[in-house]
Symmetry: C2
Subunit: 647 residues, 2 copies
């Protein structure tokens, strides 16, 4: 697309295919998509593409062998010919992008037949896009990449080419579902479900050729807000009828509609609590309406008391999702998915894995990540989240399945995309979107390999090593100069950018560090604290219960310790804080130098945008370092062992 | 006015005049105003009013004896007749309101001839009203009383009856000048000076019968923004010509226009620094334009670096106004008034008097107060500022004149009025507006007497004692539960409501308390600190230099001391903090009880409004108490001597 960054699908990525002879077999809309991709490549690079029967020889055969909707494909290379087969259109499309990723290697040597299939059936992006500009949150809540791809100032944005280009990028990294509006559903957004469903159908039409289904965030109060009913009680017959009728009209407009996303009884949104009903009751009324159409309701588990009194030490926000939902295990309908944030708080740079995951064996769970960098630098800082997500997905709540395996309801990320020419504001934040898609396809993938894949597609070869250096450790760097040892927060309230050590300390949000002159951290043990550690199965409940066994990086999430507490690293907590904050800034300085060295190796506009963001990242990282170090020096009175300047 | 609170001019306040026989002598618009007031009172209460020659006897004679514009009047009572004379219309109007204030006492006994004249010629309200709603600051910047009386959503509000009623209230407390728009002049407001001057003239027309002149806040960049010039350099001939020409057109529209108010080179507003010119250069170009018409420019001295690095301990915002302006003493034109905030920072609940006042003998200074309670409870808390203002006005910077006497350029307050039916949001905040006007008339007045005056006019007699109790000590109560010992701030950034001890600690605003585990306060001494104390003349420079002689209430403004530093009160700093915070809340609780006891004695709507605000004040006061006490307990580790609960 003119004026828009090609991200991980630059023309050159199609050169290996575009210079060769390809045969495409089969029919259907996604086969047409595949054909269109290959034909465009051939047009540009001089190759040739044929459909169905055609004279040999071919370098590449892409063949649809059935008429199902499978996403799996086989890949093999033999006798100088590369063959991809799939029984469903989506599989063939994913197979094509597999060949694109392989590049020239797809046409070299030979390779036995291997079947590829996604480990998770649902790989989804939630857009927190508002239809109307919200007075505080703007067009995209927690959006750092310009406006919305879908909506503009109350109306559909109408840039169908851009939506199609977006779908293409998503398919190329494996995403197959998009929720097109914010989980906080305001007045304008509510109407997407009924009289404005046509606008959602328009989006669906553009994404369908890439195997992507649309979902809609709806308000639990819709029967009242839109239907004029006197109640939204999920057990009310009129309410059930309204949802059924409304949903059938949705499917008339969008036959492959994916389903609903609901944030209920959370941060002010309406929900079943108002009627004395459970969240299973709430989810099930929507699930029943969706069931005849194979639709799914994603019911978010982000339920907690956001008007907590900071003076109340007995309430622990971290406990909330588990306490609310575990008693409901087994009560959710088969097509109701409980969507759980990966950590118990809210997308901090370091959190333990939510104890809900693994604790509801009779419930389909989806795990929610956050690609948009709300708490991780807001796409002004480089912070590649692949290693964090991978740690979460490989975590085993108990002996047996990993989080990635337990996420039977899918993997969901809050989108980091907007109408910015680079899609994600910070060009390097594209790596998060790509990595998310690939991890959703294969949760146990090695994130560094995904990073290499993304770099190989996106950058010229001579920039690859440098790009890898600036991204690879960037999450740990960000962690170093922000909130230490898992304690989280310490951010400016409201917008969540930049440091404020006490910013959430005396707030109603349940987000505290409890630092005093002697120590810091939240006692979440069973023995003396809030008991949160006991929400885990063994061995984790035991590991987390004791500061001796608790991993350093989560120590302050689970324990209140003295500043001179010695970590496994051998450093005291306070010296660790000083050291990591100095190191974090030094690492940003080093990364900035590496990036500067890539001038000439990276497209000028992209290089300039990243360079500009590094200026801000460095300023901000120094501010983090100095505020946190000063705060704790003043509070603890412990001097830096290395005598560095703390203000 | 229907639906609007009568404030300190309820009908009953005119009963003593309205039941009597009054003769009015003289002609002119303000005499007509006087006649209208008396006639209305007589209509209501059965008295009689005549003009000029009329048969005796009369109980009250109001006589204009000249044709100047003097504001002075004489008052006497002899032979059963009360006589007010004045050589100017304004004086006669003030004389009438003097009689209103006296009530029945004006018609009893006898009273020798006394001349009353305002000690300050300019008694002004600055409205921080925006014409267009500002995206952050709203219709009225720091406004807590609804919308603007003058402007609504980009247009003139057009409620001329309300503006007239406002003028009447102001005249009755002695105010004679109103700046009709915010000192932060945005796009829409800029045009009031030229193509929208007619809207200002409309306001002037309504206020003129009450002896009130209008002023306009203008942007220093007006020659560029409005005039299309390439520069706003005050020494540029084109710029001088533009101001002269523009000003002459202003006076065509408003012959008694008061002048300009300018916030330049301050918090992002444009100013002469951009051209390497001084603030005297800047002020004088406007003064020259105003001079032929007897107009005045009020040039605000609120110039400081609002992008300070908190790490920089050498810069002290408190020093800024003095450092900027004292070198310019003698350079300002005769009709240029330097408008100085009463304290060196920004209307905190406790500040020392600005050292600028008294340090510029060859410059006319106006002293600026803040009636709108930005930092003093935002008209949700009762906080009668009379005692604070009176302390400031009676302060003597050196041997000789008091601040009230040094304010030769007038006394100015930021208005606390909006389109709220009670004018000031909190009905008891009317007392601040009234007190300000009366102090501007007589800066050495005893504030308690002004309070009694206001209560006598506003409330029925049986409510007076209770109202006095809740207002009288309310400023000190507010001080007790908020930032201690003169250190200031500790408020939520941005909106400035509610506690945040570190809210401004690591900010660019120059507003720090420097609390660490050992002590708190800002060292502003000459010996070891920023040197600010040395900006005062003796004895104050010496008094403030030493923690031994520094008054307790300003200790932390001038000194960084240990928590166990013993105050003159005999308490340690930390124990003082705990004690005052517990006491402050107890005082609010007690005041709330007193107010509850006034049910039935106060008009129901007014009683209910105040009662509702007390709920919020008490909630907020407890939040202040708990956050500040917790913060300092955690930091100091010193337990409360009385073992009270600190969270």
């Amino acid at each position: 697309m003119q004026g828009v960054d090609p991200a991980w699908l630059p023309d050159r990525a199609f050169r290996p295919i575009g210079t060769r002879r390809t045969l495409i077999r089969g029919t259907g809309p996604l086969v047409d998509t595949v054909h269109g991709e290959v034909a465009r490549a051939c047009e540009q690079f001089g190759g040739r593409v044929e459909r169905d029967a055609a004279p040999e020889p071919f370098d590449l055969v892409l063949e649809l062998t059935g008429d199902d909707s499978s996403e799996a494909f086989t890949y093999e290379r033999e006798g100088g010919r590369t063959t991809v087969t799939a029984s469903g259109g989506p599989g063939l499309l994913y197979g094509l992008f597999h060949v694109v990723r392989l590049g020239e290697a797809a046409f070299q040597g030979s390779h036995g037949r291997v079947e590829h299939r996604p480990e998770l059936a649902l790989r989804m992006l939630d857009h927190w896009d508002n239809v109307a500009v919200h007075p505080v949150m703007g067009q995209v809540e927690r959006g750092y990449a310009g406006g919305s791809l879908f909506w503009s100032d109350g109306r559909a944005r109408g840039d169908m080419d851009r939506i199609r280009a977006y779908g293409r990028l998503l398919a190329a990294c494996g995403i197959n579902a998009v929720a097109v509006n914010n989980v906080n559903v305001h007045e304008a957004e509510a109407h997407l479900l009924t009289d404005r469903i046509g606008e959602v159908a328009d989006i669906a039409r553009e994404l369908r050729p890439y195997g992507i289904r649309v979902h809609l965030s709806v308000t639990f109060a819709a029967p009242m807000v839109l239907g004029g009913l006197a109640t939204a009680d999920p057990l009310d017959e009129g309410v059930r009828g309204w949802w059924a009728e409304t949903t059938s009209r949705v499917y008339e407009a969008i036959p492959d509609f994916g389903g609903y996303v609901v944030k209920a009884d959370s941060e002010g949104q309406p929900g079943p609590f108002a009627y004395g009903r459970s969240h299973a009751d709430g989810a099930n009324v929507l699930a029943a309406a969706l069931e005849p159409f194979d639709g799914t309701v994603h019911w978010r588990a982000f339920v907690y008391d956001h008007r907590q009194d900071w003076r109340d030490r007995t309430t622990d926000r971290a406990r909330a999702a588990y306490d609310h939902f575990v008693p409901l295990d087994g009560q959710f309908a088969a097509n109701a998915v409980l969507q759980v944030k990966h950590g118990p708080m809210d997308f901090q740079v370091r959190e333990p894995v939510s104890p809900l995951i693994g604790a509801m064996p009779r419930t389909r769970l989806a795990v929610e990540m956050q690609a948009t960098q709300e708490y991780t630098g807001q796409q002004r800082h480089v912070c590649w989240l692949g290693p964090m997500w991978s740690e979460v997905l490989r975590f085993r709540p108990e002996e047996g399945a990993s989080v990635g395996q337990l996420a039977r309801g899918g993997l969901v990320a809050v989108s980091n995309v907007g109408d910015d020419p680079f899609w994600t504001g910070h060009p390097l934040a594209q790596a998060n979107l790509y990595t998310f898609g690939r991890l959703a396809w294969q949760p146990d993938a090695v994130p560094g390999r995904i990073l290499d894949e993304w770099i190989g597609l996106t950058f010229e070869a001579d920039a690859a090593a440098g790009v890898r250096v600036v991204l690879d450790g960037s999450w740990r760097t960000y962690e170093k100069y922000t909130a230490p040892l898992g304690v989280g927060w310490m951010v400016q309230p409201g917008h969540h950018y930049g440091p404020s050590v006490d910013g959430y300390e005396y707030s109603p949000w349940g987000t505290y560090h409890f630092a005093d002159r002697d120590g810091i951290g939240v006692d979440r043990t069973v023995a003396t604290g809030t008991g949160y550690a006991g929400q885990y199965a063994k061995p984790w409940s035991e590991v987390y219960e004791s500061p001796t066994s608790c991993p350093d990086e989560l120590l302050l999430f689970f324990h209140h310790v003295l500043y001179d507490h010695v970590l496994h690293s051998g450093k005291t907590v306070i010296q660790h804080m000083y050291d990591t904050h100095f190191e974090g800034v030094e690492e940003v300085e080093a990364a900035q130098r590496v990036w500067q060295g890539l001038a000439g190796l990276v497209a000028p506009a992209r290089h300039a945008r990243v360079a500009e963001r590094y200026e801000e990242q460095l300023r901000s990282a120094r501010e983090w370092r100095d505020q946190i170090n000063s705060y704790f020096l003043r509070k603890s009175g412990v001097a830096d062992a290395h005598g560095r300047r703390i203000h």
